[in-house]
Symmetry: D2
Subunit: 275 residues, 4 copies
């Protein structure tokens, strides 16, 4: 080949593969999203539109890469869990991770106009470039993997309780941001719950699940009814219209508690395997 | 901290850093762009709009990550070269690579409507999700780095000469794609040059540089004239409007020959350093 | 510190740690042992003295690094399996592997004179430098680990059956090495078994287990009786000599079949853990 | 092949190769040598026999692996520098490093009796197992490599000046080890030089170079005269004995100053290459 003189540079590339038979987690994380959300007027403490947009981008990733068995999102981050047996890109971690973060980013921008609409249904202009960094982490056992997603969900809970209390103090209590911060120094979860309830009549446990638990994406077989037109039988060629119901694997956006057994029991077929 | 029971899972993350004092190249590559370009009616053999869009996204990356000293693009791939001394993200390769590929992807989608316009100036609808994979490669010496970009530029040349001949045979010569492919089996560069010239009157060397050489992005100080309004001096407070000229570092899109010395001599300050 | 100007070079070192909660296998392999064994007149097909020396070096490694839960040796190679929870050297793979291969090598030379003795009990002179290369491999599950040691034990079986037949043909059958090799081309296990039995009256299954199965090292609590001298009681200071029996963890050299359940059942406490 | 069912476990092995065109440094370091040297009565502050043994083992490594272009030793550590173009073991770092550390360890034990002799010329018994850990470090440029060996040589200087002063205070000054340590707290190099000279009449700069500078191993062509017996010419078949002088590459043990230019100028052919 004509370019052989330079081709030796390929030898500097690494083709490292991820350890087989381990759960691959790709976690992506918004870069500079504090500023990004301020610039685009995200509602505080949570903007359901922005969360739904994150979820939509994650759903698109799962449909594009069906070896993702579940995903968990909170705030400006998303974790994608691949089947431990996946052979996607021969388990080359850089290809797997970069493809996810790229697909997610593109989808986020593409779907922005549908999700980020104002009260009149008009899309908010996108005036900065949303982008994410990514990483691959391996977990050898199901217990380690469950502890990973539990870690993220506990993180969601702690942050959301804090943010809910902080912004209630600011938006309803009339405190400055500095005063609200000072007010919360040294408080525990129960103090924040109590403050919300006694001062503002807010029962934190009645706040939307999506805010308190983050979003859990998984697959479910869902009956899909389609209409087909065709002859009834060979004997009778007259075409008739029939409805046929099929089970279609579909991504479900859920907000369940991953520290409980229920989710894992329900998906035992996915998360337990012989080896 | 409240979530300490699960936090041990952080210990499974790798914080590997890239070898210091080496040139970091991040190369991104379109996934499934053959199909993507067909779906969006990209012109053959080259669609200047699509190339300009790639270039615009790469320019945006350089402005966002100023430690990129040059970039080279051809077809659906782009290589970004970081200053060998960069400390971006403490040289964590996954963060560097993922941030680039994410920023590029988002920008590609955001700028699509400006670039992918039809003859009437209307943007083509974006009907699939453009995305890229990425990788990091290290080159210890300037010679290795120059051979790397030379390798990509030679690749551009070979592909473009082939594609130009192939599509000329199809679009102007009336051959089927299969016939064109057969016609080119076993041909050398000079055969393709000859075929283009003798049968179609095309002098390949007069084809646009952007198609033949790809795109070379680099920084240049450019005089920028701004108007300022203010008092002339402390003694005379009357405000006057003056024009001030400043040197501003700007990304230049070039199509020069990287196998020649010129580019490297011109940027010797960037590409040679004491260690 | 006085040498700070140069200390930046430490930043080029990697401190990569092995993935937590995985079985670490360090396998060492003799370099040039074909030549080494020829030079020192190792008996063919097996030299029990040389195997015992390998085993002694491996036992010494286990006593030095008690986090090794088992080891398997055959021919000039040895595999050491670390407890999946080991924190030895903070799981830095290069330190773990290099320490093992170094300790093994030193012990091999130190114990050579005790093991490599001739018929008169005189040590064979050591006229070349025995040395080994090493590698670290991770296995996430017990099933993978069992398959690893099974792979090595099957390798031992295949090689030993071949070597036993080959050297019987040469040493007892009077064939040249070339003729013996030709004779065995295309033969299966049952053919070699049959050949040994029908032509030489050798029942392969009665060959020593150590040759057929390799060596399996593991820990066992063994009662050790020690004599202690001291007063019977505070009231009676007269010193008496007593024997005390204690359970001491000791490395056992075994030749059991690792494809069977027995070994794994017996050591279930070591090889199964909650996570 | 018969063992195919288990062979999948090979897929868990990493075949990672070191970045091409970089200097590979393998540094080995004695494990527990403080205790080891105490157990074997090494002289303080330096035992020339023990250093010569280290040097002999390092010379043996260079003869076994001729791609090592230089080595530097001090105390219980040794650094081996490979030609940046070496293809040894296809640049698999674990194989390179483990082979060196193993060969060094074996040689150390084998040559112990020649070097560690008492006043009567009797070898000291070897009562513990000397062993070393190892690591691979890459340096992209000659400047980085020079700074690495300078770093080790400065380390040697600092430690040796301290140890010389400390042990002089103890052995000649009659201080306890604790008192000597206290005496040296907060002292600079010039203070220790002054103390040695004014109190003990010792000019540190006249201490043996091997102690002050460590050992630098490199290759030199040395004329070797061999006697050959053979006919003078075809015409005259009478055999005569002739002496023939050849240039033979030989490892030199030196104690030069690596912070000076001289060593690097002398070996410019080795340490500078086109790429």
């Amino acid at each position: 080949m004509a370019n052989s003189r330079f081709q030796y540079v390929r030898g500097f590339e690494s083709e490292a593969r991820l350890l087989p038979n381990t759960w691959i987690v790709v976690r992506i994380d918004g870069r500079g999203f504090h500023k990004f959300s301020a610039k685009h007027g995200f509602k505080k403490p949570n903007d359901a539109r922005a969360i739904n947009l994150m979820n939509a981008a994650a759903v698109a990733c799962m449909n594009e890469f069906p070896d993702i068995v579940m995903a968990y999102g909170e705030s400006d981050e998303y974790s994608f869990v691949f089947d431990k047996r996946t052979q996607l890109f021969s388990r080359r971690g850089d290809k797997i991770m970069s493809s996810i973060v790229s697909f997610f980013s593109s989808t986020y921008v593409m779907q922005w106009p549908q999700h980020m609409v104002d009260a009149e249904g008009q899309p908010e202009p996108l005036v900065a470039t949303p982008h994410f960094d990514g990483r691959c982490v391996l977990y050898p056992t199901l217990e380690n993997l469950r502890d990973y997603v539990a870690w993220r969900q506990v993180d969601c809970h702690i942050n959301n309780l804090y943010n809910t209390t902080f912004w209630t103090l600011v938006l309803k209590g009339g405190l400055t941001e500095y005063e609200a911060e000072q007010r919360l120094v040294g408080t525990f979860s129960k103090d924040k719950n109590e403050l919300l309830f006694s001062e503002f009549g807010i029962n934190y446990n009645e706040e939307p699940l999506m805010f308190r638990k983050g979003s859990v994406l998984h697959w479910r077989r869902i009956p899909v009814t389609v209409t087909k037109e065709g002859p009834t039988s060979k004997a009778d060629p007259t075409p008739v219209v029939r409805t046929v119901t099929r089970q279609k694997l579909t991504v479900i956006v859920d907000h369940c508690d991953l520290l409980q057994e229920e989710f894992w029991t329900e998906h035992a077929d996915v998360f337990t395997s012989s080896s």
